[in-house]
């Protein structure tokens, strides 16, 4: 992974000193709330329902074991002993005190970490594929480019007071696991006919109040122009993005207003001035140098898989976990392993200090000292020998991190919701719990196959509900929590926004409604057809009828309680 040089290290250390002084001036009354706000946000610090919330950057989701241990230390020392991994591969702590945040940042700096630009109207943590570098469907590892973008965007003098937040994702594989089409800029690595590496450039995707799938503004951008082209996009946005209305300030609104073609034309025009700016060009040597940081670890070419085969044969619970929670690796004899943060009864993405320490140890023992955060809020140990999988599984089981549910209904994405968040209208964690309890039959879960359920506690959509195969959005109606259901969303290659099923349903009914949706699917599916594909074939109607009944014909009796119209 990338290792800081003197410049990187000095920068994060000076950031700590700067923020310590800003915090001091705020507490002394020299900075108003309004003035302190963007300063603290650019260090990931929110003022929340119960206490400040601190979001720490995990660049493109990659963590060294010592960094993960430091997160455990922070959870234990400054928080209530746990943290929450987010959909943007970061981690949030919900209970630090404002006065101690500078100390947390100092601790982070000691392990080459920071909270820089994890919030605020600036370029946020660049996210990527949590399986980067290890799958066979990858064209090229996206992380070197993520790191280049991280450095370029850090304290960018021109783009630190943008109209609104700005998120960039990079994917290097055929299957998009980084949701590039729902980012402000999505970069998809590809090669042109001459075998040259570059990017397909999407802009203007995003969720939130106005969900939009990004549009391609350039089919192929040679990689040497990565920064100059991004700079052109950002400059057009900085100058033209709306600043009069926070809800219309994202780049997606500008792209819609101008039209993708006109937006692209303006970017190209701006780019023509700066394309060959020497300070922005990536040369071969710099790319290779950066790629060197992400070189494959020293894999053993002779891993004996016979013991794995025996264990799979002998232990059906292990086999079940292996089937669900591990992924084929491009190197024979290795697997990538999901560490499930979706155990029943645990808020999705939550992890305790002890678990962080333990996973750090496991990373050292089983996966070359590295762990990753997935945007679906699990952890990944990406390079595990097949002959040690059984051992690892037992260790994870003991830590309650081996729930065999990756990709199933119970592998939900879920925001912190009203329980923690100052923005939320409704709870989301209790809904996830309700679903988890309802769908506790593993055989049924496996029979359902891949179903992505995403839950957000408000329209800001931190739980990415629009792109869940089944999306659940909490809304407040006259002081009561209701949940709007959408079907058919996706953030993968076939990115789509979910369609609203019908009237919002009461809090106690979410799992029942889900059961009916899934029952409709099971009845109607063709052999091996995914939920999403069945939905796309059939449309909303049969799901609607099964959930709400048919109002006019009465041909199908409503079963159980009926969703309320509100």
């Amino acid at each position: 992974m990338y290792l800081y040089d003197q410049v990187d290290q000095t920068l994060v250390e000076e950031r700590v000193v700067q923020f310590r002084d800003q915090t001091r001036r705020y507490l002394a009354g020299e900075l108003s709330d309004e003035e302190f706000r963007p300063l603290r946000l650019m260090n990931g610090l929110y003022i929340q329902r119960h206490a400040p919330m601190l979001r720490i950057a995990v660049p493109y989701g990659l963590l060294a074991s010592r960094q993960l241990r430091m997160l455990g230390h922070i959870a234990r020392t400054y928080d209530k002993g746990f943290g929450h991994f987010t959909t943007r591969q970061n981690i949030q702590f919900n209970w630090p005190s404002l006065e101690r945040v500078p100390d947390i940042l100092a601790d982070l700096a000691s392990v080459q970490m920071h909270a820089i630009q994890t919030s605020g109207n600036c370029i946020r943590n660049v996210t990527s594929d949590h399986l980067a570098g290890v799958l066979a469907d990858e064209l090229e590892d996206p992380r070197p480019y993520c790191e280049i973008l991280r450095q370029w965007s850090t304290f960018h003098p021109e783009f630190s007071y943008l109209p609104r937040k700005f998120k960039i994702a990079v994917s290097g594989a055929r299957e998009d696991r980084a949701a590039v089409q729902v980012h402000d800029i999505g970069l998809q690595l590809r090669r042109n006919e001459d075998g040259e590496t570059g990017f397909r450039v999407f802009v203007g995707g995003g969720l939130g109040r106005t969900p939009i799938i990004g549009e391609v503004i350039r089919e192929f951008l040679p990689r040497r122009y990565l920064l100059s082209y991004c700079e052109a996009i950002l400059r057009v946005y900085n100058l033209l993005g709306r600043r009069d209305n926070i809800h219309k300030a994202r780049i997606k609104i500008l792209v819609k207003a101008l039209g993708a073609e006109e937006f692209a034309r303006r970017v190209e025009q701006e780019w023509s001035h700066i394309r060959d700016d020497a300070s922005l060009l990536l040369d071969e040597a710099a790319c290779q140098r950066m790629q060197g940081f992400f070189a494959p670890p020293a894999y053993d070419p002779n891993v004996d898989t016979a013991s794995l085969d025996r264990a799979l044969e002998a232990d059906s619970r292990f086999a079940r976990w292996y089937e669900r929670n591990t992924v084929g690796h491009k190197r024979p004899g290795y697997r990538a392993v999901y560490v499930s943060l979706k155990a029943p009864g645990v808020p999705p993405g939550d992890v305790t200090a002890e678990q962080m320490d333990a996973v750090a140890d496991l990373a050292d023992e089983f996966s070359f000292g590295e762990a990753r955060v997935s945007h679906k809020q699990n952890l990944v140990l990406a390079d595990v020998r097949a002959d040690r999988l059984h051992d690892l599984w037992q260790r994870l089981e003991a830590l309650n991190l081996a729930a065999p549910n990756i990709g199933t209904v119970n592998d939900m994405i879920c925001c912190p919701g009203l329980d923690f968040c100052g923005l939320a209208n409704a709870t989301s964690i209790p809904v996830a719990k309700q679903i988890n309890e309802r769908f506790d039959d593993l055989d049924y879960l496996y029979d359902l196959g891949e179903v992505r359920i995403n839950i957000s506690g408000c329209m800001n959509a931190c739980g990415h509900h629009h792109v869940g195969h089944i999306g659940i959005l909490g809304v407040d109606k006259r002081g009561e929590e209701f949940y709007q259901i959408t079907l058919g969303g996706s953030s993968a290659n076939d990115a789509a926004l979910g369609q609203r099923l019908g009237p919002a349903v009461g809090k106690d009914e979410v799992a029942d409604v889900l059961a009916r949706i899934l029952e409709t699917y099971v009845e109607a599916r063709h052999e091996d057809e995914r939920f999403l594909d069945t939905f796309r074939r059939l449309g909303l109607e049969p799901f609607k009828v099964n959930v709400y009944g048919t109002d006019n014909s009465g041909s199908r009796a409503r079963r159980g309680r009926v969703a309320q119209t509100v």
Binding site: V7, V17, Q18, E35, I148, W152, Y161, L162, L281, G292
Partner: protein
Amino acid sequence: MARIIRDRALVEDEWRRLSDDETLPEADAIIVSWQRWLDERDALAARGAPLGVEIDGTVDAADVAADLEHFELIALAFPVFKDGRCYSHARLLRERYGFSGELRAVGDVLRDQLFYMERVGIDSFALRDDLDPHQALSAFEDFSVVYQRALDAMSPQPRWRRAA
């Protein structure tokens, strides 16, 4: 005269911002609004005394560029400190259009943005009235390292064009 920061030092400000309905003085160094420049350019250009113009994020830097020869100073207005459009204007005026006169940040100019402002080529700062510019001087030294090449003295060699 008010004190401003210029080239990291506190100085007395010899410039005066003229409101649009004030009569043109003969000799003073004045800063006029962009609109006034458009309306009275001949009279302003013929005056033979230092002239500055104030623009905000809504004015296209390319329009200003066409008239650069008339201006010794361009004031970039930050109506609220979060409005970052003039960071782009500053870079464009310096890098693309070659403006070498004084670029001044005016309006809601606070200590904690000075570092960024200086990096995009702004060299003078009229802090918000209630702030003590003396206390803000340390802001320029918040960081001793940066990643990007920009318009300040500390800009490094291009970080993305070096071999191992």
